[in-house]
């Protein structure tokens, strides 16, 4: 059967350019196989004898923590790296990729986590950029028709004339997927496909992925964090740990618990036990608080709530609904335009950032690299960020570096930070270890109020579990905690009360025992809670 026959048989609208791939493959046939792939870097074996196969019409997820060798494997598959040992077969033919172009020409498409699009160009221009036909005179009208047809086929909604800078992260991802498909991809590699998407966008993407699989494509999502997604769509899953395949399972046979255990190498607690603490005095009272975002628009519209001693209030919401502004205005980094902040009975609406630290407010910012740490500073100096002003650490303007070193060593041990030592630069730490050291130094201040903004975003399961445990420890010690998270499961499992936020307004506050996921989800999307109470 030739390509045109396939087209005729299935009556699809095919991309105008097909790569050099044999057309004769049926659902279930192996279209990609990697055999005993080994890749060494100085000092480490990133991939050790990894074997992997993909069938037409299959979704085969690759799961692993940061550093498990996923990125290396993905780069080998897309021709960015050459394996030291092992073979790759595509459509039954042994191949050697010298560059991504070779991979593309064999029908492999890659959707990067960090989008590689031209922001000032339209969606259509981005899609046809680099297409073999684009070197000649463009027939934009025809290309547009083809792109629209392709999008419709898989249920993507996208305006081909929109400029890329106007798009959300989810829409940009759609553009990347269509670009790969338009280029004729038969095997689609997705790097962390849902990491930047809202729940609604995620659902829509999953439907499209299933549609692609139904039409005979092979899809390989690489996933670090979101286990439910693996369970929702994939047929099979290969788990990597420390560069080796530790499990290959049919998704129907696995549970989230089992996958996490395979990834981490030990049992992981998903249901953290909430310490039984009676909420005490009101620590923080926020009245009618408003503030602007960086563009000067009203981002927080008269928010009010209270948090008591030993209580966790969870702010649930999709990114960009005023959470960041709320955290910053409470930390003193952003000026309120209205309302009051009362901390332990004192009005701190106008207090400086430093005064708030001194009073016992601790803030874990969402931007760990840019705000929460200084990459060029040693870990000791990073710990000092929350201690340089502390009378126990600095006297008469002179910092006691020996003491800071001792504290840093203790924190490294207590929080299990993996690092060569306290003098290592912060930029050498992985995301999880960096978050641990930030958490460690904020917790070491024993804050009365802990503001944790997206504390587990982007972390490995192991680190995520650790951070959550520490937040519960703060609660057990009597701190009031404001937990801001985009992960609804996290908010629901940690909080005592849940406050969904939508467009800068809190839609109601619900006690955790009465909270239902659907209700909170709806409130995050703008509906007012009915059974809400203050």
């Amino acid at each position: 059967m030739t390509m045109s026959e396939v087209r005729a048989v299935e009556g699809r609208v095919e991309p105008p350019y097909m790569p050099d791939v044999p057309a004769a493959f049926r659902p279930g046939e192996v279209i990609l196989e990697m055999r005993n792939i080994t890749k060494r870097f100085p000092g480490v074996v990133a991939n050790r004898r990894i074997s992997f196969d993909l069938r037409a019409g299959e979704i085969h997820a690759i799961l692993g923590e940061n550093g498990a060798g996923k990125t290396t494997l993905m780069s080998i598959l897309f021709g960015l790296l050459q394996p030291d040992e092992g073979e790759i077969y595509v459509f039954g033919k042994k191949v050697t990729f010298r560059s991504p172009l070779d991979a593309i020409n064999m029908g492999i498409g890659m959707v990067h986590q960090h989008r590689k699009l031209v922001a000032a160009h339209t969606v259509l221009e981005n899609i046809i950029l680099g297409h073999p036909r684009a070197g000649r005179i463009l027939n934009l009208k025809r290309a547009e028709e083809e792109v629209v047809a392709l999008a419709e086929k898989y249920g993507f909604r996208i305006d081909p004339r929109a400029r890329v800078w106007q798009l959300s992260e989810g829409e940009k991802q759609v553009v990347e997927i269509i670009k790969a498909l338009y280029r004729g991809a038969r095997i689609l590699i997705l790097d962390e496909p849902t990491s930047a998407l809202t729940p609604q966008e995620t659902d829509r993407l999953l439907e499209s992925i299933e549609a692609m699989a139904r039409s005979g494509l092979g899809v390989v999502p690489f996933i670090t964090h979101k286990l439910p997604i693996v369970l929702a769509v994939s047929d099979r899953v290969t788990v990597l740990r420390r560069g080796e395949v530790v499990a290959r399972l049919d998704t129907k046979d696995v549970t989230e618990q089992l996958l996490a255990e395979k990834m981490v190498g030990r049992p992981v607690l998903f249901d953290l036990k909430k310490p039984d603490v009676q909420p005490g005095e009101v620590i923080l009272r926020v009245e009618n608080l408003s503030t602007l975002n960086d563009k000067g628009l009203l981002a927080l519209k008269g928010v009010s709530f209270e948090i008591r001693e030993g209580e966790i209030l969870g702010i649930a919401g999709v990114s960009g609904n005023g959470q960041r502004e709320l955290a910053e205005v409470l930390a003193g980094l952003r000026k309120p335009t209205g309302g009051r902040i009362v901390f332990e009975g004192k009005d701190i609406t106008q207090a400086s950032v430093l005064d708030r630290w001194r009073m016992g407010i601790g803030y874990i910012p969402a931007e760990r690299k840019d705000v929460g740490s200084i990459g060029e500073f040693s870990l000791v100096e990073n710990v000092l960020m929350n201690f340089y002003f502390d009378p126990g650490m600095a006297r008469n303007g002179i910092i006691d570096y020996a003491k800071a070193l001792r504290l840093t060593k203790e924190l490294i041990i207590e929080f299990g930070v993996s690092t060569p030592g306290p003098e290592a630069k912060a930029k050498t730490l992985s995301g999880g270890n960096l978050q641990k050291i930030i958490l460690a130094r904020v917790m070491a201040r024993r804050p009365r109020l802990l503001i944790a903004a997206l504390p587990t975003q982007g972390l490995d399961i192991g680190a995520m579990e650790f951070v959550r445990k520490k937040i519960l420890e703060a609660k057990a010690r009597g701190s009031a905690v404001l937990l801001i998270s985009e992960d609804l499961d996290e908010v629901m499992s940690l909080s005592d009360r849940i406050a969904p936020i939508y467009e800068g307004e809190i839609m109601g506050i619900i006690p955790a025992e009465k909270a239902k996921k659907e209700v909170i989800g709806a409130m995050m999307a703008g509906s007012r809670g009915e059974e809400t109470q203050q």
Binding site: A331, L333, S352, V353, L354, D355, R356, W357, Y363, P365, E367, D370, V371, G372, S373, I374, G375, E376, F377, E381, L384, M385, N386, Y388, F389, A394, G397, I398, I399, Y401, K425, T428
Partner: protein
């Protein structure tokens, strides 16, 4: 690149120990001298002879070495004027304007005490000299603080700001010392009145006491940056303003402070050259030349990676070569501007060799291909 069985490989350096930086810089100096030999060869002069003359005049001749040290003090203070804001991630290009204002302030003190009238005016140096130093310090500091205030308050670009303030200061000096200006020399030679003899700065083995200030500040600044809360805040802000804000550091305060202190260092440099160097004791007609020379503080700061102690040998080298170069130019009858050409080549080479501060080249044995 492959050489026989070996391959050259470029690697990023993670850390740079001080001794390696010193080694790289020393090597860079040798390369610069080698490159500059071409100039001597073109003039049919043996480079070895020329360099021997330069170095022996600058560092061993008893007249030359005093000139070198005076330039060294000036350059070191100008370097501090750069380093202090640079630690906070801010660029001070205003050392020349700040040193002019510092010099004017010092002379204003003398003017106020009536020292303009006569070279033999009997003023009490125990009172007036400290006031001159203080005035120079504050004059430069306020000139710097002006830029720091505007930077901190309105986030105006500090490079443009300090550079443009230089022009203002330059013409203010001209207004003060030229025809009809209040500080005009009675003989009217386009320079300021001379200091009374009673106010000539005390010398230590022929070197003005300002060397104590310059070296003292090297130690103080090193201590401030390494050990104090203030130094920590300045460095944190220099590395990451948003992280510094998160930690409770106030950007406005830091910007104002580093430019105040940086300007003060330049102000002292102004006092040193026009008030304390033997044989000068006035704001010279060629004051613009010293304004230009102070920009070498930027280069010295960059080469010493903003380390106040490391700046000492760098400033000494630049001071010595500018003196030795000028001397050889006269002695060997070479073209005008030899000293600046030499400094220029040295500067470019040192900056180019900074590549090796962050990268290293290693030799790797190529594995036999199977």
């Amino acid at each position: 690149m492959r050489i026989g069985r070996y391959r050259l490989k470029l690697e990023k350096r993670v850390t740079l120990p001080g001794w390696q930086a010193a080694l790289i810089s020393s090597f860079a100096i040798l390369v610069a001298l080698l490159l500059f030999s071409v100039i001597f060869l073109l003039a049919h002069i043996d480079p070895l002879v020329a360099y021997k003359e330069i170095f022996s005049y600058a560092f061993t001749n008893r007249y030359g070495v005093l000139l070198t040290i005076n330039r060294f003090i000036f350059l070191l203070l100008a370097t501090f004027a750069f380093i202090i804001p640079a630690k906070a991630g801010l660029w001070n290009i205003g050392m020349s304007g700040q040193l002019y204002v510092g010099a004017l302030a010092a002379f204003a003190v003398v003017y106020a005490f009536g020292g303009k009238e006569s070279i033999s005016a009997p003023l009490n140096p125990w009172i007036v000299l400290p006031l001159m130093v203080l005035a120079a310090f504050l004059g430069g500091a306020l000139m710097g603080a002006l830029a720091g205030y505007l930077k901190g308050k309105f986030d105006v670009n500090e490079i443009v700001l300090t550079m443009l303030l230089n022009f203002i200061a330059f013409w203010v000096v001209a207004h003060m010392i030229k025809e009809g200006g209040p500080f005009m020399n009675p003989q009217g030679r386009g320079e300021s009145f001379a200091l009374p003899k009673s106010l000539h700065a005390p010398l230590i083995f022929g070197v003005p006491f300002t060397i104590v200030l310059a070296l003292g500040f090297a130690v103080i600044l090193e201590f401030v940056f390494r050990k104090t809360t203030l130094g920590y805040q300045i460095r944190a802000f220099g590395q990451s303003p948003p992280a510094a804000r998160y930690a409770g550091i106030r950007p406005f305060r830091i910007a104002l402070l580093v430019f105040f202190l940086g300007g003060a260092m330049a102000g002292l440099a102004g006092y040193h050259y026009f008030g304390a160097v033997p044989g000068v004791y006035k704001i010279a007609r060629t004051y613009g030349y010293f304004g230009d020379l102070s920009f070498y503080g930027i280069i010295c700061g960059l080469i010493s990676l903003n380390d106040p102690i490391a700046a000492i040998p760098v400033a000494l080298l630049f001071g010595g070569l500018s003196i030795g170069g000028r001397f050889v130019q006269g002695k060997l009858h070479m073209g005008f501007g030899l000293d600046y050409a030499l400094l220029g080549v040295l500067m470019i080479t040192l900056v180019a060799f900074q590549f090796f501060y962050w990268n290293k080249i290693t030799l790797v044995r190529v594995q036999e291909e199977s």
